[in-house]
């Protein structure tokens, strides 16, 4: 049985060791370690939040909350999982609790513009995986950009729990086991949820394509 998606996790072994050293330093009271930890993970956690809520300011607030919880709860990190996985777990919990409590699944994400109030910072700047960087022709770029926008739009419309699985699997390249760890569910549940999420996403994209353009803008 293979349960690992094709894409490897972005953190390497060296990164993991660095992380552990950083955690130790922070536990010893080295407050400068806070900055290093934040700098190292802020884009990754912000991306998780942004993909979940699709609103830049809210994503920034959620990332901040997540970091505070991470640093204050660093003593509870036992090192069994990767630090990155544990941090994403905390972040995802922050996002899901916010979405559940404020029912943003119905309002904010649908009201937000496709760019989510985007600004200059929203431009792509860090390709995650060099393997995936391809030389594209101008037409390909337009097609890809349109497809990406449509998929993102559809992603905002599916259930947050399903959205979380897809984001962790496809955007962050987490394995099923890591996703199960992040979400605190069994691997079987992850697979089942992922399957439904893919079907829901496909349907949402199809609905978007069928709907008149004006409705989505």
């Amino acid at each position: 049985m293979r349960t690992t998606p094709g894409k490897p996790s972005p953190t390497t072994q060296d990164d993991a060791e660095d992380d552990l050293r950083l955690v130790e330093a922070i536990r010893r009271g080295d407050t400068t370690g806070w900055s290093r930890l934040i700098t190292r993970y802020q884009d990754r956690l912000y991306s998780v939040c942004y993909r979940m809520v699709h609103h830049r300011e809210l994503a920034a607030d959620l990332t901040q909350d997540a970091f505070v919880k991470i640093i204050q709860g660093l003593d509870t990190f036992d090192g069994r999982a990767k630090l990155s996985t544990w941090m994403i777990r905390v972040t995802m919990n922050v996002c899901l609790s916010r979405l559940r409590s404020e029912k943003l699944r119905r309002h904010a994400s649908l009201d937000a513009p496709p760019g989510g109030g985007g600004d200059s910072r929203s431009k792509p700047s860090q390709p995650r995986n060099h393997e995936q960087s391809r030389e594209l022709s101008a037409d390909d770029r337009v097609d890809t950009e349109e497809e990406r926008t449509r998929v993102l739009e559809a992603l905002r419309r599916i259930d947050p729990e399903q959205r979380a699985v897809i984001i962790l699997c496809d955007c962050h390249g987490k394995s099923y086991e890591q996703i199960a760890e992040v979400l605190g569910v069994a691997v079987g549940t992850v697979k089942s949820r992922l399957f439904r999420a893919r079907a829901a996403l496909r349907e949402a994209v199809e609905n978007l394509s069928d709907a008149p353009k004006g409705k989505n803008e």
Binding site: M1, R2, P5, G6, K7, T31, W34, S35, I38, T39, Q42, D43, R44, L45, Y46, S47, Y50, R51, R56, A60, T63, Q64, D65, F67, V68, K69, I71, Q72, G73, R121, S122, P124, S125, Q126, P127, R128, N129, Q132, T144, E147, R148, V151, L152, A154, L155, I166, I167, D170, C171, G173, K191, S192, L194, F195, R198, A199, L201, R202, V205, E206
Partner: protein
């Protein structure tokens, strides 16, 4: 699960695992084709290809860049929490120095509830004693007992009713007033000059002379606040509503509006001790089962009680403005507007604002003298 393409029989649907294997590219192209052909589901390959495309689109999305100063914000929050003694991401409101009690904590266990049986017993005793006193007073007083009366105290002012007005005062907008439109107006002797019907032109002239008063009788004064907001002078209206009515102007207005002759017949307060022979008659209505029904409070009429507000209305003293203001008041306050003549002219100062000082910058046809006209809003019973 193993993803050998030969396993799924042709007539059975693919499992979730198999579809995930297909979407996430864990099967070779040949194996995938074999799975598609064996599944016997039309359109499956197309759907899987769409899912693959979506997955690729998401995989190719770059990481978002975190907003600047995020680290500083986090560190500031951590420092704040450290100062407050917070840890593990607890909410601040649970740890601020001021204790906020849990509102639900004592629900159902309020302290006074412990004394509830005692309170019930005391209430029963009071009822028993009160009832006994009432029936005793009836037995003692017998048939010679004078009828229970409550003498009004010193605050009670007996108002003599003035002659009833036979017709409403003159108004530019002639509205038939109900007979009891205004309690005060009914009791006030009418100003002879006010009985004349005023045209807008006359009203404008009187406004210039300081002899116009506008009275509005409305059954609901809910629109007063709105009117005050409209006339607060901060918007670009030609008129303004002022609350700072000078005392001499107020007295003149009141003389017209509420000229109710008062016959202050003061009667001393109820003093049981001063009239021991009437003690029973005084106490009797206050105790017993019909106590509340026995006491009929004296009607206290006070001159001016129906006035909801008095203002100075600064406006251009021309016929058009008079008409528009009259219409506005009638609409907003849903009442009857009367334009009346004051017996003597009043001198109300105008506000020195930019508009009143720069009147000459307006076109000549807009040149009109401004006047401060008393406006009285009365609540109709």
């Amino acid at each position: 699960m193993t993803s050998t393409p030969g396993q799924p029989p042709a007539d059975r649907p693919l499992t979730e695992d198999q579809i995930l294997d297909l979407v996430e590219g864990r099967l070779s192209e040949a194996d995938a084709e074999a799975v598609f052909s064996r599944s016997g589901r039309a359109g499956l390959s197309e759907r899987v290809r769409q899912m693959q495309a979506h997955r690729r689109a998401l995989q190719n999305m770059p990481l978002e860049v975190a907003p600047p100063h995020l680290a500083e914000r986090v560190i500031a929050t951590l420092e704040r929490d450290a100062l407050l003694g917070l840890a593990k991401g607890e909410p601040v409101d649970g740890h601020i120095p001021i204790h906020i009690g849990d509102r639900t904590r004592h629900a159902g266990h309020r302290p006074w509830m412990k004394a509830a049986p005692g309170l019930a017993l005391a209430a029963g005793l009071v009822l028993l004693v009160g009832g006994g006193a009432y029936w005793s007073s009836l037995l003692i007083g017998g048939k010679d007992r004078p009828a229970p009366t409550v003498t009004p105290g010193p605050l009670a002012i007996k108002t003599e009713k003035g002659p009833r007005a036979t017709s409403p005062s003159g108004a530019a907008i002639e509205v038939e007033a109900p007979a009891a439109a205004l309690a005060i107006a009914d009791s006030a002797p009418r100003n002879e000059a006010a009985t004349k019907v005023l045209s807008s032109e006359d009203a404008a002239r009187l406004a210039q002379e300081g002899r116009l008063v506008i009275r509005v009788a409305s059954s609901s004064t809910r629109g007063v606040g709105q009117l005050e907001a409209m006339g607060n002078g901060r918007n670009h209206r030609t008129w303004r509503l002022r609350k700072d009515v000078p005392a001499e102007v107020s007295s003149t207005i009141l003389a017209v509006v509420t000229a109710a002759p008062v016959n202050p017949e003061f009667v001393g307060p109820v003093m049981a001790a001063s009239e021991p022979e009437r003690f029973g008659s005084v106490i009797a209505p206050l105790v017993g089962p019909r106590a509340a029904l026995n006491i009929v409070p004296p009607r206290i009429e006070r001159a001016g009680a129906a006035i909801a507000g008095s203002y100075l209305l600064e406006m251009p003293a021309d016929a058009a403005s008079v008409e528009s203001i009259t219409t506005l008041l009638s609409d907003r306050l849903k009442g009857e507007v009367r334009l009346e003549v004051l017996p003597e002219s009043i001198e109300a100062p105008l506000t020195d604002d930019a508009e009143s000082l720069t009147w000459w910058t307006q076109p000549p046809q807009h040149w009109a003298p401004r006047a401060a006209v008393p406006l009285v809003i009365e609540e109709r019973e």
